[in-house]
Each structure stands twice: as structure tokens, then as C-alpha cells.
Amino acid sequence: MSKLRVAVYKFSSCDGCQLQFLNMEEELLQLTDMVEFALFYEARKAVEPGPYDVAFVEGAVSTTHEIEILKELREGSGILVALGACATAGGIQALRNWANVEEFKKYVYPRPEWIEVLEKVEPLSTYVKVDYEIRGCPVSKEQLLSFVLQLLKGKTPRLPVDSVCLECKRKGNVCVLVTKGIPCLGPVTMSGCGAICPSYGRGCYGCYGPMIDPRPAGLNELFKELGVSPKEIRLLFKQFTASAKEFREVHGGYG
């Protein structure tokens, strides 16, 4: 069987998602028998030219140069996968979309005029067709591995898209919202993480972004009833996937 030729690349982001490949410590050697990481700066010096069967692209797009590279990657890859919250929804650097980027440049860089950035930070899908999204900040290595193995088996990869609650209750957790009144984004967030935060008694932070057909406005009403402050509600929805349309509808209302 010929190996799956994979490119792993990143734009504006922290590298945490692509590192999940390397975090597959137990499975990595077996995986490299089936997968050729032709382009993966984090893992190897050598760079094999495209085309690639699959490109896993982490990070948000924040410069014109990144748009060019992204388009090249799209053209040179059979399947393009947006990897993690930045690639799928802009991530935390997209928080600057609600501020003045010129101001930031002035405070951070001695020669701000040298810094060429786009006015808004955008997910990959703003510029190219994305075939699959793997959500999360960071992505779960179990989901990432499952995705690759499904591809290798010739399946159409399937990842869950319903609420975190589903996963949380299958795991046998007690609802933190109902028992403790902890504001939890689980009822509107896409599952796949293994309901990590509620498993440790905390509310879901929504790093997987909105689930399919979510009702964030209803959850906003509940948080208000529970006495969560407007500021806290705004910050809850304006985190890792602040740019996601459905979450924007809530935090947009709080300014």
C-alpha cells in the first residue's frame, strides 16, 4: 500500500494543534508506516514537494502572504483539513477583529509601518474551500488519529457534530449547570473533546465552537437567569471561536 502523503502547515497560531501529531507517542511509529509526512516543519527538516494527498492546516489567516500560501496549498492538495480553532474560526488572535489593529501595531512594534497585516483575522474557509474541519483548542489527538485512520481505511471521515452534553452524559458526568449553576457552554458546543472540562467539574469553554444547529441565544437567557454578569457572558462566548457566527450573535449583543 502506498503511503498517504501528508502536509502539515500552519499560519497565525501557537503550533499546539500540529503538535498533537507528535503527541501520538504510542501510535506515531505505526502511523509513519502508513503516512508520509512530506511537509511538516515541526517534525522534520526535509521538505518533499507536492502534490499532497491531504494538507492539515493550522492557524488563522492574518496576512496577504498567508493567503497566497494557503491558495497554493489548496491547489496542491487533494483534501484540505482546517486544523483547530484558529483555522476553523479565527482562534484567539481573531479577538483583534473587535479592536483597532493599527493601535496594536503602534504599541507592540518600534516600526509599525513595516508590519503588513490584514485588517481582520479570518478562518481558512474565508479564502479557500475547506473539505473537513477538526475543531478544538487544541484539537484532540484521539480525534486527529481517528480522522487519519478513517481516511486510510477509505472511509469518508466522520466526526461528531452534536452537543458536548451528549458526550458528557455518555461518560457519566453529573451536569455542572444543573447541580452547581456553573455557566457551561456544553449545550451549544460541538462534541469531540471527550467533555474534558465538565469531567473536572468546570464549565465547557466552547473551544470546539458551535455545534450543528445550536441555540446560543437560549443559553444566554439561562446564564442571565443564573445571575452571570453580562461581562462574564460576553467573555464566555468571545473566546477561542469568537468569530463563529452563532457565538457572535450573543457576544455582539454585549458589545
Binding site: Q30, S163, K169, L177, T179, L219
Partner: protein, 347 residues
């Protein structure tokens, strides 16, 4: 016979008969159904306070239940159906089931087992095996909670059949009824006395009073037909306005048995086929190749309600709802099934 001491003897006797015991424990601020090794692990001195969307424990001497129902054991949330090896050979997992006694189940949960029996007994292998090795000790519910409506559904607060032993705590007295040969055997081992007239009078009165507290304002007569006539009612849309579509109601429902099947590939080339709990409130539940039966959330909510009260009766000859109230309590936004049914009946 003294209440607590009698229950301890019963517990010990079940262990002597080689039963693994599952009962209520306090974990993470809620009553959980879990395996219990010693009598003093069982929850005591607590009461659950339930209301739509809220659950807490306080000091008290009687409790109802938490999010878990016997479904957790009889129909696990994740069950490996089989494993496919890299050479495509298929192996079924070895299923080892302990002889299990459920200790102190409330009548609503006993009723839920009876409902699941209609659906799964002799159909689902795991369920059937578990069921055949199982004893049920039920505690009659002298103090139904705020979200309970077993009396309306005809499932409680007194268990009438299908148990091995039923007990009722009346002050410091314990009233026991055997419902099977095992139950009779247990009673003999406990050296109980025949009930006297005064205690029997109390027993009947307390449970009759309890029934009055476990009503939803509607009766089960003709409910399937009456609700089906309301299929086009705007009430479904109105109630579902609040719904988040999170499916917590499905997860905590003691009779919701819907499942999804997931193939989990392993790096060694093998794969497992796993059955997991699913629910009709999930968007993907009614999504099929080429379309979707119920893309609107209100239609999914309507299906939940009508399945429990109408379609279930047609399919299985029983209601799918036992009136335990879990879907009311564990709904984060507190959507009240009782209110929805009342609204439907009144308009």
C-alpha cells in the same frame, strides 16, 4: 422490624446469595447509581431537591433519585459490539455479567425496567443477559419530589409487581412485600412479623397521600389518542422556543433507548464497532442519506413528546414515560414535560 437495621440485614443476605449490589451513593453532589460493596456506602441522611433545571442535595431522611437510572447498567452508554481484526475476522467481546441486585430503586425506575423489557428483552443480547441475572429490591416512594408525576403515569408511588422485594419505610418500621420466590426467601431469612392492622392502615394512607403529590394534572386515560390529535398544535413550537437541542433529556430518560453505531479504527489496523447512546433531540439523529426527517428543533421536540406518550403505545403497548421527572430536572433550561402536555390538552 427497625428500618435501618432491617435494610442492613437485607443487604447482607443479598451479598450472602452472591449478588453484586447496585444502589444510590452520593458522588459529585448528586445521587448516583453505583456498585456498592458495603451497606454504609449507601446514601443516607440526604434528600434531593429537584425543580425544573435545578438539582441539589440537602440533609434529609428520604431521597428519590439522581441522573442515573438502571439503564446505565442494562443498556450501557458505550458498548463494544464486536472487533474486526486486520485480517477482517470478527470477534465478539466476552460478556461477563455479575448477578446484580438493584437495592432501593424507586417504583418509577422499576417501571422503566418494565418498559425497557418490552423493547429490549430477548432482542438485545446484553440487556437480556443482564436482566436474567438481576434482582430488584424496590423502595416505595413515600415522599415524591417536585418534578415527580408517577401517579399520573400509573407507575408509582407504590410498586405493584415485577419486583423481588418491595419495602416501605414508615417511621422506624419497615413494611416488606415479597414479589417473587427470591423475595419470599429473603423475607424468611429476615424473620419478619406479619403486619398488624394499624401499620397496614398507615402503609395505605402514607402511599395514598404520596400519590396525591405525584400528579401532573393529567391522567393517562386516552392520552395517546388525545395527544396525537394535537400533532399540528403550535404548542410544540412555543415550548421548543426555549429548547437548546442538547439532548440531556434523552440521556437521563430511563427509557430512551436510541443508539448510534460508531466504528472506531485502531492504529494496528483493527477496528471496533461501538454502540453509543443517541437521542431524538440531536440534529443528526434524523439525518439520513439524502435528507433529514426533522431539521427543525421544534419537530424534534414534538417527536420526543409524542413518542413517549403516543407512538410508544402503538409500538410496545405501554407508555414510554414513567413520570420520573428526570427530563424536567436535568433540562438545563428547565423545560417541563408536564406543562407541555397540559398545554397541549387544554388548547
Amino acid at each position: 422490624m427497625g428500618g435501618n437495621e432491617g435494610l442492613r440485614l437485607l443487604f447482607d443476605e443479598l451479598q450472602r446469595l452472591d449478588y453484586v449490589i447496585v444502589g444510590h451513593k452520593v458522588v459529585d453532589g448528586a445521587l448516583r447509581l453505583e456498585r456498592v460493596n458495603e451497606f454504609n456506602e449507601l446514601a443516607v441522611g440526604v434528600e434531593d431537591v429537584q425543580s425544573p433545571g435545578r438539582y441539589s442535595l440537602v440533609e434529609g431522611d428520604f431521597f428519590r433519585h439522581g441522573p442515573d437510572s438502571p439503564k446505565k447498567f442494562l443498556y450501557p452508554s458505550e458498548l463494544v459490539l464486536f472487533k474486526v481484526s486486520p485480517d477482517w475476522s470478527i470477534t465478539s467481546p466476552d460478556v461477563k455479567i455479575d448477578r446484580t441486585a438493584f437495592f432501593g430503586l424507586k417504583p418509577c425506575d422499576l417501571a422503566a425496567i418494565k418498559v425497557l423489557d418490552r423493547v429490549l428483552l430477548n432482542v438485545d443480547e446484553f440487556y437480556t443477559l443482564y436482566r436474567e441475572n438481576m434482582a430488584i429490591i424496590v423502595e416505595n416512594c413515600t415522599r415524591p419530589g417536585n418534578t415527580c408525576f408517577c401517579a399520573s403515569m400509573g407507575t408509582g408511588p407504590r410498586a405493584r409487581d415485577s419486583f423481588d422485594l418491595a419495602y416501605t419505610r414508615l417511621g422506624d418500621k419497615l413494611v416488606m412485600e415479597a414479589g417473587s420466590e427470591l423475595g419470599i426467601r429473603l423475607l424468611n431469612a429476615l424473620e419478619v412479623e406479619p403486619i398488624d392492622d394499624v401499620t397496614y392502615g398507615d402503609f395505605v394512607r402514607v402511599l395514598n397521600e404520596a400519590a396525591e403529590k405525584a400528579r401532573a394534572g393529567f391522567e393517562a386515560d386516552n392520552l395517546p389518542e388525545l395527544l396525537e390529535l394535537k400533532i399540528a398544535s403550535p404548542v410544540f413550537r412555543e415550548v421548543a422556543e426555549k429548547c437548546l437541542g442538547c439532548a440531556n433529556c434523552n440521556m437521563v430518560c430511563p427509557t430512551c433507548f436510541c443508539f448510534d453505531v460508531i466504528d472506531v479504527p485502531r492504529v494496528d489496523g483493527s477496528a471496533e464497532r461501538v454502540r453509543v447512546w443517541d437521542g431524538c433531540l440531536n440534529y443528526t439523529y434524523a439525518q439520513v442519506a439524502g435528507g433529514h426527517f426533522r431539521p427543525d428543533l421544534w419537530a424534534r421536540y414534538r417527536h420526543f413528546v409524542l413518542h413517549k406518550f403516543t407512538y410508544w403505545m402503538k409500538q410496545f403497548g405501554t407508555y414510554g414515560c414513567v413520570g420520573c421527572g428526570r427530563c424536567v430536572t436535568w433540562c438545563p433550561v428547565g423545560i417541563d414535560l408536564r406543562e407541555a402536555v397540559l398545554k397541549l390538552l387544554r388548547r
